[in-house]
Symmetry: D2
Subunit: 343 residues, 4 copies
């Protein structure tokens, strides 16, 4: 079999380990042949790819990013896209199947390409935010949590030295997993996530209770969190939207609000892209390698239109529909569990 | 409720996070009172303990080791032990229950103390080797894998620079989980585990095939691995047993055997105690914190004689019998999965 | 002798190691007594201090921040300050001397207090930016460079995966040492420092030349850098000053300017407080410990009004005037050396 | 100019950064051409080399080991060696000069080849042990100290949890710099170095004094340390020499001796090759890059037979004789300084 690999969407530690796992498994167990499409779906639509032999994936498990490049190109958008164009690329180059490594958008597209276009596709879930259902965890998430936790450890000592409140913004546009886990690991005094809007009054109550115990408050906030006092939030957001076209911003809003209300000097830090770059943790390397290997096995089993996923300690083959059917949000009981430690 | 905590057996990153999780959960949710028994069961038998209030657990989630101390004392051994002595300590000090954090031995003893002595006990599984059944993973394991993987990353560059074979010995007396995961994460060319004896011929075949591809072979071996060519192993072991009373030793045996047979200069490294010390990974901090909190909840639910465990993404209350009924060995399919990447 | 220690100004990894080194050296070699003034000069002026015995400094060498707290209080400002108030605090509490650990402001104040007020003071240079003359390096700097370098390593893989330009802002208000060293260590394609204003045209030329070689450009910029095309800079700064009261900001300005001119998608990351928190590097622990010990020795030698400093591999006693006489800027030849690697 | 680079002797973090610095400097500033000799002097004698262009050194500053390979081949040994063979390789391939990166042996050979054979050579000092005179520090040393310090941090928590004495063996065959710096950074209770033989009685006195203060003793020992009670050492060494052909061994001797005399359970850990592998610290990357660049500059200045070295904050060109004239041992005052913190 000749298989084309692609990585799509925001990069994530472990992408290269998936590629390496897939190529080694395919070459060694099945004598498969591989190509790598460049820059995600764009490479498929444009027929831009490179051969991937065993030597090319050497040492990749510890390497961050993706050697194939990635983009947010949607295979259905633009003039040249769609199932026909993709099938043409495959046919013209004798490629039998695609292993698509990507998030919600990529997996949804993969499913349509299979269902509507009959294209042989297996999906590998990629989400640093851990927002895909149908898999317990996805690679990249553990590394991001580790990096955010290390940042909290560092911020804590500087906070205590100056009696300041620190507000750390981590990734998490729609779900708060990175904030929840890093906040628990780092002993944060408040964890603010998109699933659980809070009022500024509640946040300040937590912050003040920490100060009253003689400590420096540490707040971890997911980028997608919003205050539930809408007016307040809006007036700040309005200002923000106009002048600051960058992602994030919630920590920049919260720090001065906390300082104004509590009188505690407050500072914000936005972790940003550091969370998604660099060498994956051992956990993510193992998970990504196993997913890559399993995706090839699924291809050889003809499980087209399916996706590999972590369930407990096993890698299983599941339907893409399961993964894309809804966001993997932080359940109420997990937030309640963490909330006991606040304040 | 007044709860006594103890940590028993070899230490493990995350013990302090369990203690912190339990104390915070108990104090905040239930207004519980806590004491910490010193040096494991010894403290229970001898009535040696210290009060544990909220302030005492501050900042503990990132601290390695155990503030309570640990030992391998068995509560049933010696003159002063047994259920009566333990019950006496509890009665005399108004302690209602014990949360025992320990491995197979501790959990077995906990179960007997509950079953035979009617003592109120909840167990928390602790095993850096990941050898307990009934929990998907235990805290400390992820940290150990991370440290072993970092060692592999470091050894690889020195191996390649000199064209040497490196043999790294990691923990794992009865099961090979640390070797399996770190070997997969680090891209080892052979992973040797207690569950899968191999002949020296097979090992050298893997090593030579790596050399023939122009690379420096990297072998990860669990301390409990043994060769299946018994004579060979014995003759070496005989020598070893006489002169070297230290733990480990398999890497020291293998390196010269590999060098003698393949002609490839070989070196061994024994990671040893470094794997069990120091700050836990974020993964282990979250797991340990959740287990500590859940153990207190189990105590308030009166789930005596049970144990908290990780299942998928949930913490569940299970019977201790499940955990101590058999070793959590590496299944054949997991070894086969990894073995594809050898050689 | 009874010595009072204080830490003043922004915190810095290694402050606690200085404290530990001073206390251990004093207690063991001279049977000295120590107190720690809380929150910098404020503690001296207000007579707020705590005893420091050997036990209090246990394990401190690896701990970030300062157990004494810090503030930017100037001993000469406010109603209660000045040499008389300070001498009164010392006299009333039988304190013979002060070891003041701080930056330019603290050392200048220390010198005045000694010269004008006859107070027994020894200074220890503290500057994470490495901007003090008279010492080759100061503790905290190495840790900050290490953290910034790790960030560059991480940003590089995500930059390459998306073909983006990354702009990383590091500390350095008046001097560019952190940017220079981390940029060299991380292989940055442009290093922008306060000492060397550059035009946006020059920066974009470097960025484009990197892109033309098929790579993702990585720019490291010190927070105090400014463009030498003044109009451009001003028009952006005007906007900025109005809406964004936070520190930093140069990276946020540069990224969109680079993107607009080169067409290369550009992202900024501001490292911020992470650079100054957390465990010091081994280098900084050794340096800080030695400085703390040497400061006590200087006190016992009666070298009042002087400061300890690193010269080559030695710790020497120098005049405070030397350190505060001028900024330790990046010399032209060091920038030229690094600049060869740009573009 | 066409310059041949070689790396010789044990590998060391930073070798690749030297290579990268040299090639970039040469190509960009002087339009130089480079080749890399494989496996140290062996490549020069045998004419085994590869071209090194700008692209080949991309990303090398953070990569451990040496892409050229290394060996302990002496250019004067064997049938084919000597200045004539080397000059022949140079002449036949149009190579004008050699930059030799290596330790005492390599630099001595380089000097002879220049003095006796008139070969154009510039040396770059490489010693992870920091045992070369004429340079304040050499690259690799800081990384090794960092790794050893992290090991001490980890060992401490496990030691305290079990009330054990830990003996950590670090590199340092003839000089104790790694032990001295990591021991100071990690807060070791005894530092044992080749320059300062101690009796087992003295070591046990330090260990017991730590235990008496309620702490777990931590001993750092350089591999080249020897007891000054010769009989004791010999009787153990005799046994050792026979059965254990591996490097190191002093920690394995000391731990049981300490346990036998003090009654404190003692464990040894040998760091071994981990200290010399993997990514260099930022400090070492900067130093190595600067040395590589300076070596090329020295070549273009015709400073044959000289060596580049760190002096304070500057890279200077010095005579090789200076570096090879004597070991850079730990001076008495540095040991005395550290010794105050023992026990």
């Amino acid at each position: 079999m000749k298989i084309g690999l692609l990585t799509s969407g925001g990069d994530c530690p472990g992408l290269n380990a998936v590629i390496r796992g897939a190529v080694l498994k395919g070459v060694i167990s099945h004598d498969a042949e591989f190509v790598g499409f460049r820059w995600g779906w764009r490479g498929v639509v444009e027929g831009d790819f490179m051969p991937l032999v065993r030597h090319d994936v050497r040492g990749l498990s510890k390497q961050g990013g993706t050697i194939l490049g990635s983009s947010r190109t949607n295979p259905y958008e633009g003039a040249g896209g769609g199932p026909e164009a993709i099938q043409r690329t495959l046919d013209e180059n004798g490629i039998d199947a695609i292993i698509a490594i990507g998030g919600e958008g990529t997996l949804t597209a993969a499913r349509r390409l299979h269902d509507e276009g009959g294209i042989n596709i297996v999906g590998v879930p990629k989400t640093i935010d851990n927002d895909l259902a149908a898999t317990d965890y996805s690679f990249g998430f553990d590394t991001a949590v580790e990096i955010a936790t290390e940042a909290i450890d560092r911020l804590r000592t500087t906070a205590e030295s100056h009696g300041r409140c620190m507000v750390l913004e981590v990734m998490g546009r729609h779900v708060g997993w990175i904030a929840l886990h890093s906040g628990m690991a780092g002993g944060a005094h408040a964890i603010l996530i998109p699933e659980q809007p809070q009022s500024i009054e509640q946040i300040c109550e937590w912050v003040e209770s920490v100060r009253d115990r003689g400590r420096a408050p540490l707040v971890v906030v997911a980028e997608g969190f919003h205050l539930d006092t809408m007016e307040e939030a809006h007036s700040h957001k309005g200002l923000d939207a106009f002048n600051r076209p960058r992602l994030g911003g919630i920590a920049e809003q919260l720090a001065p609000m906390i300082e104004a209300r509590t009188g505690i000097e407050s500072r914000d830090t936005v972790l940003g892209h550091i969370q998604r770059g660099g060498a994956p943790s051992a956990y993510d390397r193992v998970l990504a390698t196993r997913l890559g290997m399993a995706a090839v096995e699924a291809a050889y089993d003809g499980a087209w239109g399916s996706m590999v996923a972590l369930r407990g300690t096993d890698i299983e083959v599941v339907s893409i529909a399961e993964a894309t059917g809804g966001l993997n949000t932080v359940p109420q009981e997990r937030y309640d569990e963490a909330r006991i430690l606040f304040g």
